[in-house]
């Protein structure tokens, strides 16, 4: 009796043991544009930005970081990519992966085997409408179990590109009267609730980082008007002009996802193309993208460019 009580008081593991277990099982993930704020499994990240900005490239870079084996600097785990935009370019991903392998592997010869092994860890599905998306989420657990049996590794990333793809269609179908009272209709609210519930259930069983890209689909009418009105007033140069540009940047992002999705997201980053360009080696002018943290509202932002080999920070 006293042994049992003593065992109960002593606990299962010490704080140090728990920390070392969690840090190895759920490592911090450093995606190059966001090195200052490392992401951890269990977060739900939303990348917001008008199209085109480099959201899909960031997702691809993160995917490559995940599928590379541990001794090449990756995590050696599976990546699930749900393509709702149906625009994913696998050739670009394979080009970036080959570049990474080549850089890491300069004198060895097993490039091709490594490439094949990594590509097998990238799981892709495309959904043409909400119903397919919901069906995918509902069967995801079974799919992950199958993959775990086949390849023996778990999944670390769930990527959704982009989460607002069916927004207009769902909004329009909200107004459809189905005429059958005892059944739940397909509305924007119901769809979002189901999506969030399914992802939550999935993350409980397979802990992973959820990254969703979101395009800003509502236009910037208000931003354009604001600029016009401000320009008509005489203003003293620097401070007023910069405040106008800041307001324009803020106004360009208008939230349209239902509140249940908004409260599900734990981190939100806004990415925009700036007007600056940087010329790289081949005399190409690459546009610089700015990233800004909206949630949590951090004061530092990053700027990065997209080169052939991937996404790189510009400091």
């Amino acid at each position: 009796m006293t042994m049992e009580v003593r065992g109960w008081i002593d606990g299962d593991e010490s704080g140090r043991e728990m920390l070392s277990r969690l840090l190895t099982e759920r490592p911090y993930l450093h995606i190059p544009p966001f090195q200052k704020f490392p992401l951890r499994v269990g977060n739900v990240v939303e990348l917001v930005g008008p199209s085109p900005c480099a959201k899909t490239h960031i997702l691809m870079q993160a995917a490559i970081d995940c599928i590379l084996p541990k001794h090449y600097g990756g995590l050696g785990h599976l990546v699930l990519f749900i393509d709702l935009d149906c625009r994913f370019d696998i050739l670009r991903l394979s080009q970036m992966l080959r570049n990474r392998i080549f850089q890491a592997n300069k004198n060895q010869s097993n490039d091709e085997e490594l490439f094949v092994e990594c590509m097998r860890r990238f799981l892709y599905i495309r959904c043409y409408d909400t119903l397919e998306f919901l069906a995918t989420l509902k069967t995801l657990h079974y799919q992950l179990q199958k993959e775990r049996q086949a390849q023996g590794i778990g999944v670390n990333f769930l990527m959704i590109d982009s989460i607002g793809a069916f927004h207009w269609v769902d909004r329009a179908s909200t107004s459809l009267h189905l005429g059958v009272d005892n059944r739940k209709g397909l509305s924007l609210q119901n769809v979002s609730v189901t999506v969030v519930q399914e992802i939550k259930k999935l993350v409980l069983v397979h802990p992973m980082l959820v990254i969703a890209a979101k395009a800003t689909i509502l236009g910037n009418r208000y931003a354009a008007n604001e600029v016009k009105w401000n320009l008509k007033r005489p203003f003293s140069p620097d401070s007023a002009a910069s405040s106008v540009t800041n307001k324009v940047h803020q106004l360009m992002y208008r939230e349209y996802m239902p509140s249940i999705w908004q409260s599900f997201v734990t981190l939100r980053i806004l990415i925009q193309a700036s007007d600056d360009h940087i010329s790289t080696e081949n005399n190409h002018n690459k546009s610089v993208y700015l990233s800004e943290w909206l949630m949590p509202p951090l004061s530092f932002g990053d700027s990065f460019i997209v080169k052939d080999a991937g996404v790189f920070c510009v400091s």
Partner: protein, 294 residues
């Protein structure tokens, strides 16, 4: 849609003619989900969603099925690293009389000759001209008039978005059941111009217009991917901030095409220039110049 025997999953389908498109209505999936997990396998077999692929399978499909179609203009091919890619939706944006329709006709002629493929041209503004096609065909292939080539370019006139959906669905059914018929495989679908079909329905306060626009985009991308065809659509320009022109169809349309190209014509000149606004693997901002009719 299917109903499984023991009724554990009931999926009722209906088409909503109100929207003019096939819109399966998915009722009460959730209530039955918790009953048994075994039916999840039934769902996979019944293909309620696309199959999961890994990167390798995707790459093989892209390399074997999604070929690059040359446009017939060396400058454009160099800019796009080959030309139009099958499986991708390419949008051509330009102010009026910048050469969009001429470019589309020339591309159609080139695909029919060089790639020996069938071209389906959806004409929304009576801009399709058989004479111009004949002219381009002679220009490309020398002097011989080739009836077979001309018969491989099919033109449908569509004047509203609902008839476009009808045509596309018929196309989908007929192409899927036809299979591979030697060298008459459909390779390109051109919609000139898609903005004249969508702009009339975009106004108004409801989301129906945008919903139809995005559904059209998804249908075109699905056709491009599953039938391995290159889809080319044209869009016009409207006034934007500061008096500059910007592409029509608004913010939501921007994320639909794979590739967006901006076309402009020099004043009083036959030279056009084309630049990349967006591309999945190439940098934007590069410009190429070409002449349509020399």
């Amino acid at each position: 849609m299917a109903e499984s025997e023991n009724g554990a999953i009931e999926i009722t389908g209906g088409s909503v003619r109100h929207f003019g498109l096939q819109f399966p209505i998915f009722l009460c999936f959730q209530r039955h989900f918790h009953r048994t997990r075994a039916h999840l396998r039934e769902i996979e077999r019944d293909r309620q969603h696309q199959p999961w692929l890994n990167g390798l399978q995707l790459l093989e499909d892209a390399q074997q099925n999604k070929h690059v179609l040359s446009t017939g203009f060396k400058g454009i091919d160099k800019l796009l690293e080959g030309g139009l890619r099958e499986g991708q939706l390419t949008e051509l944006v330009g102010p009026s009389s910048s050469g969009k329709t001429q470019l589309c006709l020339r591309v159609a002629a080139n695909v029919a000759i060089q790639h020996k493929g069938r071209v389906i041209f959806l004409d929304t503004g009576n801009s399709f001209s058989p004479r111009r096609i004949e002219h381009f065909v002679r220009q490309i292939s020398g002097s011989v008039f080739n009836e077979k080539v001309m018969s491989n370019i099919l033109c449908h006139s569509t004047f509203d978005i609902f008839s476009m959906f009808d045509v596309l669905h018929q196309l989908e059914n007929s192409l899927k059941s036809q299979g591979h018929k030697g060298d008459c495989k459909a390779r390109t679908l051109i919609v000139d111009s898609i903005s004249s079909l969508i702009t009339p329905i975009l106004g108004g306060s409801g989301p129906q217009g945008h919903a139809l626009m995005t559904s059209a985009g998804f249908l075109l991308k699905k056709l491009a991917h599953e039938l391995n065809i290159a889809v080319l659509v044209t869009n016009h320009m409207v006034a934007g901030e500061g008096g500059n022109l910007k592409p029509a169809l608004g913010e939501s349309w921007k994320s639909i095409p794979h590739v967006r190209l901006l076309l402009s014509r020099d004043q009083g000149n036959k030279t056009c220039s084309i630049s990349i606004l967006k591309h999945p693997s190439l940098a934007s901002g590069e410009v190429a110049r070409f002449v349509i009719d020399d």
